[in-house]
């Protein structure tokens, strides 16, 4: 009995080993684990779930969403990096988790070796904003005030080493502003501090404060993303104001290194359809989110460029670098 069982087990193992390479042909043959690297209820989570339900239809297999939030998104990303590269574990990823954080502290993955970018699906849209009843109507007025009152103005970010912090610090450095950085724990507390008048200006995603912007409680002074926003069409971008950089971070889909190219292609195609699906776009638009597809290779190249660019600047911006 025991020997028979052993033989059967061995046969199964062998069969799996032999059948392995051909698995990609009928991929996906079982549900796919989709690890979301932020908590349930946030923007990333909402967008990911909206897209995954569309992607499920196309792939004909369920994407099982699991939230693995924490440590600036690195916890979820490392979970993907550690998984087997068989196409059945993928996850969401933000730009700092691969391009910036690995430079500042130890993470258990090599961002460009252990992970493959399947595709980027949605840009995060950022801006510098002040309270609706503050005296500054334009970016120039604000800059002038900071220059006249060195050391008095405070700016908030959702945390040290976030793109929000780095971009704002770099703006300050290029303009020679003397102001103080106050890192909060996430965008929610940052927004509360701005609304309560405890900091003067913050860099945050516009989607998370859309309602306050429409109500006039928050005024956008400068768009730090590449292009102007439909919500505040008159506010200029930082590129228009003569800066040579801007705040670029996408929500992307990542897979572990070693995932078969055929599987990557199928996944990428599914998310491309999901990004341009009318229903998804409409649901996202209600929350002021705007999906946009970028092929994986192209986004990977962008990440490598951004990593090199920001890496060189980190010490100047007052961020500690990994020893």
């Amino acid at each position: 009995m025991g020997r028979k069982l052993l033989a059967v087990m061995l046969a199964v193992v062998l069969a799996v080993a032999i059948a392995g390479p051909s698995l990609a042909d009928n991929y996906p043959s079982k549900p796919i684990k989709f690890i979301i690297n932020f908590s349930a209820g946030g923007t990333t989570d909402t967008a990911a779930r909206l897209m995954s339900s569309k992607a499920t239809e196309i792939l004909q297999q369920a994407l099982i969403c699991m939230n693995k939030p924490g440590a600036g998104g690195t916890l979820g990303v490392s979970e993907v990096a550690r998984a087997k590269g068989n196409g059945y574990t993928i996850g969401t990823c933000n730009m700092p988790a691969v391009a910036i954080i690995p430079l500042t502290r130890k993470v258990p993955y090599e961002p460009f070796k252990d992970l493959v970018q399947v595709c980027a699906v949605m840009p995060y849209e950022y801006a510098l904003m002040v309270r609706g009843d503050s005296p500054w109507k334009t970016w120039e007025e604000f800059v002038e005030y900071v220059k006249k009152n060195p050391g008095k103005v405070t700016y908030g970010s959702p945390g040290t080493g976030t793109t929000n912090h780095l971009v704002t610090a770099r703006i300050g450095k290029e303009l020679g502003l003397s102001w103080n950085h106050v890192p909060f724990q996430g965008g929610v507390k940052e927004t509360a501090a701005l609304l309560g008048g405890h900091v003067d200006i913050i860099n945050n995603t516009t989607a998370s404060v859309a309602s306050s912007i429409k109500a006039g409680k928050i005024r956008v002074l400068l768009v730090t993303s590449e292009e102007r926003f439909g919500m505040v069409p008159d506010v200029p971008t930082m590129k228009e104001k003569g800066f040579k950089f801007s705040q670029i971070s996408y929500m992307s889909v990542v897979a572990p290194a070693g995932t078969p190219p055929a599987a990557l292609e199928k996944l990428s195609a599914a998310f491309q359809v999901a990004c341009s699906d009318k229903g998804v776009i409409k649901s996202c638009a209600q929350l002021d989110l705007h999906p946009k597809f970028i092929p994986g290779k192209q986004y990977q190249a962008l990440l490598e460029k951004l990593s090199a660019e920001w890496g060189a600047l980190l010490p100047e911006l007052g961020v500690k670098i990994k020893k």
Binding site: M9, V12, V13, V16, I64, M66
Partner: protein
Amino acid sequence: MIQNRMDFKLGIGLAVFCIFLLVYLIPKHVGPLNEADALMPTLVTGFVLLLSLLLAVQAIRRPGDKQHGAESHSGTKGSRWYTIALVVVIMSAYAWLLDITGFVLTSLGAMVALFLVFGVKRWLPILAISLGTLGGLYLCFDIMLGAPLPVGTLVETFLE
């Protein structure tokens, strides 16, 4: 003589732990004191050190409250220390094996082992309660909520 042995040992033990934190763990795993990161851990550790020394000194002079000590029960009807240790060992094995042998097998094994340790010898209730609990959890997590419990790497290999 020392009046309250338990408190004295506790105070000294904590003090030793704090010194270990101050001279080794904090410098090695947080950073030098002049940095903001290390300020809070150092301050709190210093505080614990102070309090635990105080506790040890107090214990020398003041006798403990005999009525409430956990010792008063042991040896009579309570489990022996090795039974408690056994439960801890089973729970640790449960936690570490969950990833490998998966939710169903590990939980079943652990629950049966726990029942035996607790002195339940009849197999019918053991299996009925274990399988009932696990079935309920599986139904709840995997089927209703779509949040799967771990399958286990070993089991996964077989299922493929």
